[in-house]
């Protein structure tokens, strides 16, 4: 068939090496409406100020994969130098990222280990060891014994499932006296839902001693339930969150420890990688991005384009107060 063509075969022009002034980079996040990514925008802005590159952040108004696909797809037409992306669903993005790369656009991803069709995926840390670390802390807090549950933002949220998976594995191996009493519970990344579910758990398991949260909204929601039941000291609550959200609960002990990495730095790191690639450089074991926590990248085993930093932070009431986000 003579008329047959294929998508993406139209109008691509090679992306010749440009100077920083001519470069355009866009960071596409899960949703602009989440505090986490509002913090990331700070990093993007500081990167732009620092380098003079036209870097900006885009994202939908909620965490739907299809909206993100749409945004990336629309961006391709603008021919930016690079797109960095924090995917809602790495799988759903794969084919549109391929189109972007076919157009000569550099693609860097974050929080998406194993994603296809990107130049580099940069992680703040290794998901498995992060999940495992949370469990070490939780187990220590619980004295290595008792019942606990795990919350995830969504049962379809890949990283969350990896964290709780690694944590569970760690627990079964190293803390046999602890028992996970439910399969991971879905909070839909909503504090209210996390709160309701936590209350159910408290009612159903009067002896519950630990909660592990994954989405930023999980631990504050859980903490409210724990606080109301007056169990701040009996129950250990730990998981990912950011200091500004968790501070008030850390203060009274309803949250015991939070784990996070600075989204602003992660944002900057993604763009720094894009810049290196755009200038013709490569990313290797030990590369220094000039961003705190990403001073010596490590290559993640089993993947050829995933690099991890050492940017995870664990904070209790005292240390969390030192952060301004």
């Amino acid at each position: 068939l003579t008329g047959c063509t294929s998508i993406g075969s139209v109008g691509s022009e090679p992306n010749s090496t440009k100077s920083a002034k001519d470069m355009v980079m866009v960071t596409v996040v899960k949703a602009q409406t989440i505090p986490w990514f509002q913090r990331m925008a700070v990093g993007v802005k500081s990167f732009a100020d620092r380098t003079g590159i036209d870097a900006r952040q885009e994202g939908a108004d909620d965490v739907s994969p299809e909206k993100q696909v749409q945004i990336v797809q629309d961006l391709i037409a603008q021919q930016p130098t690079a797109i960095t992306v924090v995917p809602n669903s790495p799988e759903a993005l794969a084919s549109v990222l391929k189109q972007a790369r076919d157009q000569g656009i550099i693609v860097v991803s974050h929080e998406a280990t194993g994603i296809e069709n990107v130049d580099i995926d940069i992680e703040a840390f290794d998901n498995a060891s992060y999940g495992s670390e949370i469990m070490d802390n939780l187990a220590q807090c619980m004295g290595g014994t008792g019942q606990y549950v795990q919350f995830v933002g969504g049962l379809t949220a890949k990283t969350h499932m990896e964290w709780v998976g690694a944590a569970y594995e760690n627990q079964t191996k190293n803390f046999p006296d602890m028992t996970r009493v439910e399969t991971p519970i879905e909070s839909t990344d909503d504090q209210g839902t996390a709160y309701e579910r936590a209350k159910e758990v408290l009612a159903k398991y009067p002896n519950i001693a630990g909660f592990q949260g994954s989405a930023g909204n999980d631990v504050p929601g859980i903490a409210r339930a724990v606080q109301e039941a007056g169990l701040e000291d009996q129950v250990c609550v730990m998981g990912t969150s950011i200091p500004s959200v968790a501070n008030q609960y850390l203060a009274d002990g309803s949250i015991d420890k939070i784990f996070f990495w600075d989204p602003a730095l992660a944002g900057e790191a993604q763009l720094a990688i894009a810049l290196i690639l755009a200038e013709g450089g490569t990313i290797e074991e030990g590369t220094d991005l000039g961003v705190d926590g990403y001073n010596s990248l490590k290559k993640l085993e089993g993947y050829d384009n995933v690099f991890v930093g050492a940017a995870s932070v664990a904070a209790d009431a005292k240390t969390a107060a030192e952060y301004d986000f």
Partner: protein
């Protein structure tokens, strides 16, 4: 709607011609429109009876998951067989969609549950089963044929878009040129009079929702064609958006009136506005505002202009014209 589409295209073409008019952008619009457009058409068909179907997106995902699972199951033993059976697997997915639609139809017509409630519930059910089935993770894998369809284009027009147009024409024929289509319209226009006109209400509703499910199943196939992955949660923002599109396209929310052609135009318009907004660097919040403003403006415009000119055209009374404007528009070359 034609006016709105032209207006949108002109506006963005002027504001940022380099990006907006680039072939790749136009092609992107044509690739993104079909999946949502087909769901919107499904919504339109259901709204024609005065109903609504909130479970369409869930059905589409269900269909995609079915196809992906079947494919993977066969491919692990015999990859060639899986690709050879591609058509069968895809049909199985569409059949699952029809089944989902038929269950909606059963709840609405036989049990007698208000459509908005019945499909709100089935949305959760289909969605929930999909989550249990997939364990929440995203499934990879689809018949190679689908990937090929997703990538193919005829004279730079993506095949997906052509499929969309073909589906639109078929549905237009169904709605305007078949007994079932007319019955669907009449049922929506006045259910009591439909009953007294011996229109088999139950059968009509059952078939309507089944057609809706079939189209949603087809949308699921398009999901896979665009991207060979299936998940329970894809497209949740489409649930309400397709209502907006259907109504923008001239569907009467109380039933009885709709235009497939209008829905196609409305899909394209929103797609154009969305990529136009990205092209001129406006945020997604501003797009949310724009979408609402467009919807309301079009509705106001329609209501004002129709109250001024609501008059049957003076045709020759001896020769009652049969073709509705929709048909005429669709049949025009």
């Amino acid at each position: 709607m034609v006016v709105a589409l032209l207006l949108a295209v002109t506006l963005f073409a002027i504001l940022n011609p380099r990006v907006f008019l680039s072939p790749i952008n136009l092609q992107n619009i044509a690739v993104a429109a079909p999946e949502i457009g087909i769901i919107a058409i499904a919504m339109m068909v259901v709204m024609l009876t005065g109903g609504i179907d909130l479970s369409l997106v869930a059905i589409a995902n269900f269909s995609a998951i079915t196809i992906s699972t079947l494919h993977t199951a066969i491919a692990t033993t015999d990859p060639d067989l899986a690709n050879n059976l591609g058509v069968v697997i895809v049909l199985a997915g569409i059949a699952v969609g029809m089944l989902g639609g038929a269950f909606n139809g059963f709840l609405v017509s036989v049990v007698g549950i208000t459509p908005i409630l019945a499909t709100l519930a089935t949305m959760q059910i289909y969605n929930g089963i999909a989550i249990v089935w997939t364990g929440g993770s995203t499934l990879y894998g689809a018949p190679a044929m689908l990937g090929a369809i997703g990538q193919a284009a005829v004279a730079n027009v993506p095949l997906l878009f052509i499929i969309f147009l073909v589906v639109a024409v078929l549905v237009a024929i169904l709605v305007n040129r078949t007994a079932l289509g007319r019955m669907i319209q009449l049922e929506g226009a006045n259910p009591v009079a439909a009953q007294y006109s011996a229109i088999p209400r139950r059968a009509v509703l059952l078939k309507t929702y089944t057609v809706g499910g079939l189209l949603a199943g087809l949308a699921g196939v398009l999901f896979l064609a665009r991207n060979p992955t299936a998940s329970a949660d894809y497209g949740s923002s489409y649930v309400l958006l397709v209502i907006v599109i259907a109504v923008l396209g001239g569907t009467n929310p109380t039933g009885g009136f709709a235009s497939v052609f209008g829905v196609v135009l409305a899909t394209l318009t929103l797609q154009v506005v969305s990529s136009g907004f990205t092209a001129i660097r406006l945020s997604s919040y501003e797009y949310a505002i724009a979408q609402g403003v467009i919807l309301i403006t079009v509705m106001i415009f329609d209501s004002v202009s129709s109250s001024r000119t609501k008059r049957p055209k003076k045709l020759d009374p001896q020769l009652p014209s049969e073709a509705s404007p929709t048909e005429a528009a669709l049949l025009r070359p």
